[in-house]
């Protein structure tokens, strides 16, 4: 009788040990073989970094809080820096940032600097939208723009401003409801009850 009880205890202990080994094995990280036969640890899946997410986007480089878009020849088209982090939605292919300073290179004329609280660059639509109170200016500040919202259309190279638009040119200021900065035609066009007057200062 004592022998049966002892044997039963041994069997239970052995079974418990086997179960513990199996469970332990399943929960531990898997080990895979690397390309050169070295063991590589496969970690828990994590969110892809911004660099990884935007790797498929053409001619885009990201360094810290600055994003640079270049053309096929490697020339800078635009460059944007943000006070905070850039976010990228892989599903929408939209680059997002807050409190940005965006500089557009314009062949044959001064570059244009845009500052805005919100920046959204949509790669499918090939547009960049600045909103929540936007200001834009040339480096020498001979041209100053203020508007609620500004959209850059990459295909047409136009910037379209809407909402309480103000355009300061030298000592004069034009106000209207809509403005287009046509970089190819090198024109500024305003509509919607345009008023043009000299301002002090």
């Amino acid at each position: 009788m004592r022998k049966r009880v002892g044997l039963t205890i041994v069997v239970i202990v052995v079974l418990a040990a086997i179960v513990a080994v199996i469970v332990g094995t399943r929960l531990s990280p898997q080990v895979a073989t690397g390309p050169e036969g070295s063991a590589q640890q496969i970690t828990e899946p994590t969110q892809p970094s911004l660099e990884q997410s935007t790797a498929k986007l053409p001619n885009l480089s990201i360094e810290g809080a600055q994003v640079t878009q270049r053309d096929e020849a490697g020339r800078i088209i635009w460059q944007v820096s943000a006070q905070g982090q850039f976010g990228y939605s892989e599903n929408d292919q939209v680059l997002r940032a807050e409190n940005v300073r965006w500089e557009l290179t314009r062949p044959g004329q001064d570059s244009l600097i845009v500052e805005a609280p919100l920046f959204l660059a949509s790669y499918p639509e090939r547009t960049i939208t600045f909103s929540k109170g936007v200001s834009a200016y040339t480096p020498d500040r001979s041209q100053l723009f203020k508007m609620s919202r500004l959209v850059y259309q990459a295909d047409t190279e136009r910037l379209i401003a809407e909402g309480g638009v103000r355009f300061r040119y030298g000592h004069y200021q034009a106000t209207g409801s809509r403005l287009i900065i046509d970089n190819r035609a090198q024109q500024v066009r305003m509509s919607g009850g345009v008023h043009f007057a000299r301002v002090s200062g």
Binding site: H171, R189, S191, V194, H195, F196, A197
Partner: protein, 187 residues
């Protein structure tokens, strides 16, 4: 008793200079601030030539010792090199000019209402407006009323000097209407 009175026809090719106000030379020497504002439906600035084009219900208002308002469907102009003044403004097509002159030495002001079919040119340096093509102008002494002196001009072109308040009509036809009663009272 009020009534009318003079009609005068001047032959074509003759340039008529009408001194609207007595002597404005002293006043012209004074420095005064003049501001110009322009409004319209649309504005285009060509950054290569620095030329502005306004289209649709365009209105230029120049305020200062005098007040001039010019309206047209299209206006083009350039700013000075320092972008601090409108150098020259050109209107295209039918144009209307309304001017309240500066008071002369007697304190008299005049109202000028002029129009032209081809267009007009405003020059900041000369402070004058030239209306071209079928130009007409009415000059009325202020305050406007039954006793006001009135003159009506028709000519190829009308030049309004905003600074001196001299209206010059080229190839003119002049019609003057005045009040004898008013004139006799002055005497």
């Amino acid at each position: 008793m009020k009534s009318l009175v003079k009609f005068a026809w001047l032959s074509a090719g003759v340039s008529l200079v009408l001194l609207v106000t007595a002597t404005m030379l002293g006043i012209a020497a004074q420095t005064a601030t003049r501001t110009g504002t322009i409004s319209g439906d649309k504005m285009t600035l060509d950054l290569r030539t620095n030329q502005f084009v306004f289209t649709g219900n365009c209105k230029l208002i120049i305020s200062g010792p005098y007040k001039a308002t010019m309206t047209s469907e299209k206006m083009t102009f350039k700013l000075s090199a320092a972008a601090d003044a409108i150098e020259q403004l050109i209107t295209h097509g039918p144009t209307k000019l309304s001017l309240i002159t500066e008071a002369n030495q007697d304190g008299q002001q005049y109202k000028v209402v002029a129009s032209a079919s081809q267009g007009a040119t405003y020059s900041r340096q000369d402070e004058q407006v030239v209306l071209s093509g079928g130009a007409e102008a009415d000059i009325i002494s202020l305050p406007e009323g039954p006793t006001s002196q009135r003159a009506h001009f028709v000519g190829d072109s009308i030049t309004a000097n905003l600074k001196t308040s001299i209206i010059e009509v080229d190839k003119a036809h002049l019609q003057v209407e005045t009040s004898l009663a008013a004139e006799s009272q002055k005497q």
